[in-house]
Amino acid sequence: MQNILSVQSLTKKFDDFTAVKDISFNVEAGSIFAFLGPNGAGKSTTIKMLTTVLRPTSGEISINGFNALKEQDRARASFGIVFQDHSLDDELTAYENIVYHAVIYKVPKKERAERIRKALEIVGLWDRRGDYVKKYSGGMKRRLEIARALVHYPKILFLDEPTVGLDPQTRNAIWNHIRSLNKERGMTIFLTTHYMEEAEAIADQIAIIDHGKIIESGTVEEIKNRTETESLEEAFLKLTGRDIRDDNVPGNKMRTIRGMRRRTRR
């Protein structure tokens, strides 16, 4: 199988802290790849580098055959991303948000209306397309973000914790949808999640990152065999330990939240 995403010796240093240390991995075209790790392990930093919004300190990234550091625009046109945190414009309607996306991704004008309609129908938001995003619930916003990421027909879809904070119904619907995109369109899925049972159920390949390094990778079965555990969650805990982590990436919003939690705990 061909690799749609290939990462070589990727490293990111922030001043005195190395968030990602010399990681390498490949993602096969058409597969579902789960990238797992505790908070602050380097997941989000890696996704930011893969999606060209953060420059690596060193290393190579190839997406759909394009060098993500040199042929940025062609690499960017090849992927879609659903960010971990909110990335919609609340002051626009759902439809306007998607049109904006379609235009900046240069979706041909003739196909635009049809593609947007389909994407919104898939996530069940076509009837609510005229509403302002600020009136949407958390689950609807997530679905809209997924619909938006599909409008330019990406070859690979990055999902950074797509189901965090959602009810089981919505989570189910989102995973079913992701699975069908993968099966029917052959779209490669690269996802991160903290729900181990979700990763176990959906992923073909898994990589576990901790302290900026990939400490284990393979299929769910391989990982369970090597760690001599019954479930991915057990394997994960065995590999990464049971200590609670801080999300200590510099400039990360989590820092403040963590600070606030600490204060309230006292």
């Binding site: 414009d89 002051e91 235009v103 991704y105």
Partner: protein, 250 residues
């Protein structure tokens, strides 16, 4: 290319149009300045200048002021985009950073122009008259250049700011001095050397002077000199902004 710029522009106008409170609110300050300064200093100005009409002097200054503030705020809005996460959506798209800069500059500049035109019509109610259509045309060119330059400046600053904490710093140590020392409110004559120097490196000085020359027939440096200076400065700031935008990380 054109369509990408258009959609970036459109988004900003949609934001502007949909927040009527902001639209109305930002008319308060220029109106207050026009009425209080206009009628307050009017008699003093007339005595000092030997019979000059202060409203003729003040109106172009206040129009410039409203453009300055609206333009800078529009530029700084990128910081909100960053905080609410929307900036990432634009930055991961396969479009050049120059397109982003142009689209956002034109969007902010259009809003500032609309705001400037509303204030200009208010000055009409207060007795300010533009001599001819030609001078109005030239005046619009200056309004546009002021709008472009200061939106570009706002964007350039915003590309370096992570959050709104530095906002007061920028307002009180950059934007307010730019406004007060631009000659918008009082003539830049017989000033102490330090103030004189600052007023001459203040970009808005040339915008105000050009606009005043165009629509009120009073200019210190000559309208065409102002035009060249403002034109060059606008191109310059947009180029810097485009470079800084290409280095933005989300």
């Amino acid at each position: 290319m054109i369509e990408v710029i258009y959609i970036l522009w459109l988004r900003q106008l949609q934001h502007y149009w949909r927040s009527k409170a902001r639209l109305l609110g930002s008319l308060g300050q220029p109106l207050l300045f026009l009425v209080t300064f206009g009628f307050g200093f009017g008699p003093m100005y007339a005595r000092a200048s030997g019979g000059g009409n202060y409203m003729d002097f003040l109106a172009p200054g206040i129009v410039s002021m409203s453009i300055l503030f609206t333009a800078v705020f529009s530029g700084l809005e990128v910081i909100w985009d960053r905080q609410f996460g929307f900036l990432k959506e634009t930055l991961v798209a396969p479009i050049s950073r120059t397109e982003i800069m142009i689209g956002k500059t034109l969007g902010g500049a259009s809003i500032a122009m609309i705001q400037g035109l509303i204030v200009l019509s208010l000055t009409y109610l207060l007795g300010f008259r533009i001599p001819s259509l030609a001078s109005l045309g030239l005046g619009l060119v200056f309004m546009f250049l002021i709008a472009v330059f200061f939106t570009g400046l706002g964007l350039t600053i915003a590309s370096k700011m992570k959050d709104m904490h530095g906002f007061q710093l920028i307002m009180n140590f950059l934007i307010m001095p730019i406004f007060f020392l631009s000659g918008a409110l009082f003539p830049l004559e017989n000033l102490p050397p330090a103030i004189y120097f600052i007023s001459r490196i203040d970009p808005l000085t040339y915008g105000v002077d050009g606009l005043r020359g165009a629509i009120a027939g009073m200019s210190m440096f000559g309208v065409y000199n102002d035009l060249v200076i403002m034109g060059l400065l606008s191109v310059f700031i947009c180029a810097i902004g485009a470079v800084l935008f290409s280095r933005i990380e989300a």
